[in-house]
Symmetry: C2
Subunit: 319 residues, 2 copies
C-alpha cells in the first residue's frame, strides 16, 4: 500500500482537526492565543518500551498519546495537538495501523478532549517506533516548573502510583514462554486487581485534566511521575534545591511499588503549606530543607531502587 | 552510560536555548508572539533513510534538522525550535552522539539562525532512528498553503533540484561492496560536480530563510520539494485544483534529475503573474487550468517516474 493510501485510512480514524491548518500541508498551524506553546516529545520503541505480544495497536496508540499528554499537563497546560511519527516494518497490517489510530483518538477524547492529531510522518523501519510530540496551551497561566518547590510546601500526587510497575512485572512473570519470549496475555487468568495493574501498564490513564487545575490552584512545582516516585521526586528536589520527605503510609498498601514503579504518569505537585489541595490530589509528604538525600522516606534516606533507566535496565535477553 | 550523562553531553554541544522554558523540565515553553505556532515532524530511519557507512553522526544531525526546518519554511514561517527524539542501539559511541548534536547545531546556525533544540527524548532501539519536530513562527503573516496556486501564476523554485537524487545514485552505484552493502565513500574518487551532488544528498542546504521572504512577497502557494519536483508539484496542483506547466529548459542541464530526484528540499512557490520574484527564486513554469494531468512538462503529461515513496521504493536487499 502507498503512503498516501495508508495516510488516508489513518486520517479517517483520527479525531477531527481543530487547527488553523491541519494535516495535509508541509506543517500544521495551531492557534496559541496566549502567545506561548508548550511542547514535548516522547518515543516508544518495540523492545525496550513495548512488545507486540503484549500490546495491541490500540494500546500502542493510546499509550504513545497519553505519555506525552501527561508531560504537557505537568507544565500546567492543556494539550491541544499531537504530531505522530510512526516508523513500522513493511509487513505491518493495515488493521494494526487503524487500531493504532483508534487508540490515539480514544486517548485524546478520554484524557484531553479537544486535542487532535494535527500532523505526522510515516516511514518504514525494521523496528516499530512511535515518536509523538504534544503541544499545549498554558491558557494565560505561568508554567509550573519542577524547580519551584519551597520548604514547607505540601507534596501531593494525583493518579495511581505503582500499578503500572506491577502490571509490567505481571507481564514478565506470567506471560512469557519457556524461552522467555513474550506471549499472549490470558486475561481470564488475572484477578480484578491484577487486571487493573495490567491496564495501568498497557493503557495508562493519567490525570491530564488536573494539570491546569493544579496550576490554577497555585502549585509551586509539578512534574509527571514516569520513572518512579523516588527518582522523579529526587529530580524535583534537585531542581528546587530542597529535599522531599515522603510518608510511606500515604502510599497505600503497596508502598514499595508506589515508591519505585515507573510509567504511572501520575502528577507530582507541591502546594503552599495550608492551601487546600485541588480535588484529585492527595498529600504524601512535605518539602524540607536540603538533607543528606534529595528524597527521604519516613524520615530516612531512601536506598531502594529508584525507577527505570532504559540504558541500564533493559536487557534484550530478558524477553 | 546513563541517560542523564548522555543528555548532559548532548546539551553541551547544542545551540543555547532561547525558550521561556528550555530543556530539562517535562516540556519546553516557547514564545509565539503572534498567537500561532507552525509544527511539523519528520523521521530518519537507518536503512530506508540513511546508512551509517555513508552518513556520519554530523550528517545525520544536520539532515534530520534541515528536512524539518524546510517544512516550516514552506509555510512561510521562520523556525524557532526543534524537539529531537533519538532512538539508538545500546552500543552507539558517545562520539557519534556528540557529532550528531554538533550537526544539529551547525544546521540551525547555518540555515535557521536563532533556532535551537528546546527538547527531546533518548531511548534505546535496535534501529537508529531520529524523529525531529520543528516549530516556527509566521511573524504575523498568513501561512502559505499548497492549495493557493491560481491559474496564470508564475511557478518558481529556490534551491537545487536534482542534485540530492544524483548524490544518492552515486552512493548506490559507486560505494557498495561486492555483496551490495554500503561501504565508505572515497571523496578523492569524485569530481567536483559529483562531490557537490553527494553533499546535497548527505548535507542538504535548503533555502529556509527564503520561506518568510516568499510569504512577504505574496507567494500564493508554497511547498517543500522533498519527493521530487513532479510528484510535489502534482500535490500542489491537486490541492489547488489546477495544473502546473513546467518548462524543462528552465531546469538546467540535467532536467531529468531535476524533475524526479528527491530530497533536495527546494522551495516550490507560485506568485501572481507579473509580480517580481524574490531574490533566490527562478521561474520554471506557469499555473494553468486543470488539464489531463496535474503536471505538464513542455506542454505534455509527464510520464516518467515521479519521486520517492519508501513503501514502494525501498528494497532492503538492494544494499
Amino acid at each position: 500500500m502507498s503512503e498516501g493510501k495508508i495516510l488516508s485510512r489513518i486520517l479517517a480514524a483520527l479525531p477531527p482537526s481543530r487547527a488553523i491548518v491541519g494535516p495535509g500541508d508541509d506543517a500544521a498551524v495551531l492557534a496559541m492565543p496566549d502567545g506561548r506553546v508548550v511542547a514535548t516529545t516522547d518515543t516508544l520503541v518495540h523492545g525496550p518500551d513495548f512488545r507486540l505480544a503484549w500490546t495491541s495497536g490500540f494500546d500502542l496508540g493510546w499509550k504513545s498519546a497519553v505519555v506525552n499528554l501527561s508531560d504537557v499537563a505537568a507544565m500546567g497546560a492543556a494539550p491541544t495537538a499531537l504530531l505522530v511519527a510512526l516508523a513500522m516494518p513493511e509487513q505491518t497490517a493495515m488493521s494494526f495501523i487503524e487500531e493504532f489510530a483508534a487508540g490515539l483518538r480514544a486517548a485524546c477524547d478520554s484524557v484531553a478532549p479537544g486535542c487532535a492529531v494535527e500532523g505526522g510522518d510515516l516511514t518504514v523501519s525494521d523496528t516499530l517506533t512511535v515518536a509523538v510530540t504534544a503541544l499545549g496551551s498554558l491558557q494565560g497561566q505561568p508554567p509550573v516548573l519542577r524547580s519551584g518547590a519551597r520548604v514547607g510546601d505540601v507534596v501531593a500526587v494525583a493518579g495511581t502510583l505503582g500499578a503500572a510497575g506491577r502490571g509490567l512485572a505481571l507481564l514478565f512473570d506470567r506471560f512469557r514462554d519457556a524461552e522467555g519470549a513474550p506471549c499472549a496475555v490470558d486475561l481470564t487468568s488475572l484477578s480484578d486487581a491484577e487486571a487493573a495493574d495490567l491496564s495501568a501498564q498497557l493503557r495508562p490513564n493519567p490525570p491530564v485534566s488536573l494539570g491546569p487545575v493544579a496550576a490554577a490552584a497555585g502549585a509551586t512545582a509539578m512534574m509527571d511521575v514516569s520513572d518512579g516516585l523516588v527518582l522523579d521526586a529526587s529530580r524535583m528536589a534537585e531542581a528546587s534545591g530542597v529535599s522531599v520527605s515522603i510518608q510511606s503510609d500515604s502510599l497505600g498498601l503497596d508502598a514499595s511499588s508506589a515508591l519505585t514503579g515507573g510509567e504511572d504518569h501520575a502528577l507530582l505537585a507541591t502546594f503552599a503549606h495550608g492551601s487546600e489541595l485541588p480535588e484529585g490530589f492527595r498529600a504524601i509528604g512535605v518539602v524540607c530543607a536540603r538533607a543528606s538525600s534529595p528524597v527521604l522516606v519516613d524520615g530516612a534516606a531512601f536506598t531502594g531502587r529508584g525507577g527505570w533507566d532504559p540504558y541500564n535496565d533493559w536487557d534484550a535477553t530478558r524477553g
